[in-house]
Symmetry: C2
Subunit: 219 residues, 2 copies
């Protein structure tokens, strides 16, 4: 009897394509960030703010993942950066193949950094390497303290964690101390930024850190 | 060449098991609700509040879906109701088979209503019928106005939509008018409740409506 494990085959194919993406990104010395979160945590708002802070300092491109709409891509385009839209047509995550095709359409010679905004989902996107340099996960103060331990994989793999909606902290039961304690268990080496996409608080610090990362690629 | 469409086979098997669940629930005249939302929208907090309001008026059971932990089940158990935990071990949604097995373990002769708390995810759970009477989807004011149009399937299928964190509305850019406009497009027949799991606001109205639904099963 021949047994075919569909999942490991699918992941295997994704790994190959992710490796191909990673080579293509490296060839152009691009910093590529896979931005992930739950729906409504504020990925797009943080991107909008980041673009404002980076204006005139860095050329960037955005690959936007969404189920059906191009609402986020439209928001990003208004900020004056190159955007390629991926519609997954119901699929719950981006994969390396989708990103590879989008990358081919991006006039990448003109950019130094690419943000990939993944589908809003804390489960499925964590399992798919897109060829990125690192993963940044957004979590917001209004989502409660239990998200780190309930969705450990995505937080464990993140190099950056952006704690968003810090402006709403006083109106919630979210505990910063508990957040730090849990993170020390799940991912002690993550770099954490406290931000508000809405007010812009903390975005400058995140952007300075990002610019240093770009410099490592283009000394 | 024989081509096997894995997805439609999987969904086909789920439909059979969902039908089996639906018969089993009907036999015991149970009202069964599939509660879904993004991570951190407040499903468990709404459940806790609902249990408080239902105390002494109705016997209920809860089937808790989570990736790995039993944190939500522990919170519900503290409120004095029967809970069965399902750990999906990484799977992004509950399916009818998991729910059927959990139901067998629930001392269901003693209950009149069952809440199934699905995995926090706006994409995958929408595709799996669990045999429920209806679906209730929680969305919170802090998640932004674009969720209805970005995740249309889950909102389209909902009979009830609980707009949660209504206490935080003044501190966000969320527009109630826009929410109503979008809902008129996506699901004009949905019953909407404005609630705060945290303060308890609006929970009484939702509970009175629920009790009427139970009465229809047990006149």
């Amino acid at each position: 009897m021949v047994q075919i494990n569909m999942e490991s085959n699918l992941l295997g194919a994704n790994e190959l394509l992710a490796r191909r993406n990673r080579s293509a990104f490296a060839e152009q010395r691009l910093l590529v960030i896979n931005l992930m979160s739950s729906p409504g945590s504020g990925k797009t708002t943080i991107l909008e703010r980041s673009i404002e802070f980076l204006a005139g300092r860095l050329q960037m491109g955005v690959i936007e993942g969404d189920l059906y709409t191009d609402q986020d891509a439209q928001r990003i385009e208004k900020k004056g950066v190159q955007v390629i839209q991926i519609n997954t047509e119901g699929a719950c995550h981006l994969d390396a193949g989708m990103v590879g095709k989008a990358f081919e359409q991006l006039p990448s010679a003109a950019v130094e950094m690419i943000f990939i905004e993944n589908v809003g989902n804390l489960v499925c996107p964590a399992e798919f390497d897109l060829g990125e340099d690192f993963r940044a996960v957004v979590i917001s103060t209004t989502e409660g303290n239990d998200k780190l331990s309930k969705y450990p994989l995505i937080f464990h793999q993140a190099r950056v964690i952006l704690l968003n909606k810090i402006d709403l902290l006083p109106f919630t039961d979210f505990s910063l101390d508990k957040f730090k304690e849990d993170l020390a268990q799940i991912n002690p080496s993550a770099t954490v930024f406290l931000v508000s996409g809405r007010t812009g608080e903390g975005i400058d610090i995140w952007i300075e850190w990002l610019l240093e990362e770009v410099k490592k690629k283009r000394p």
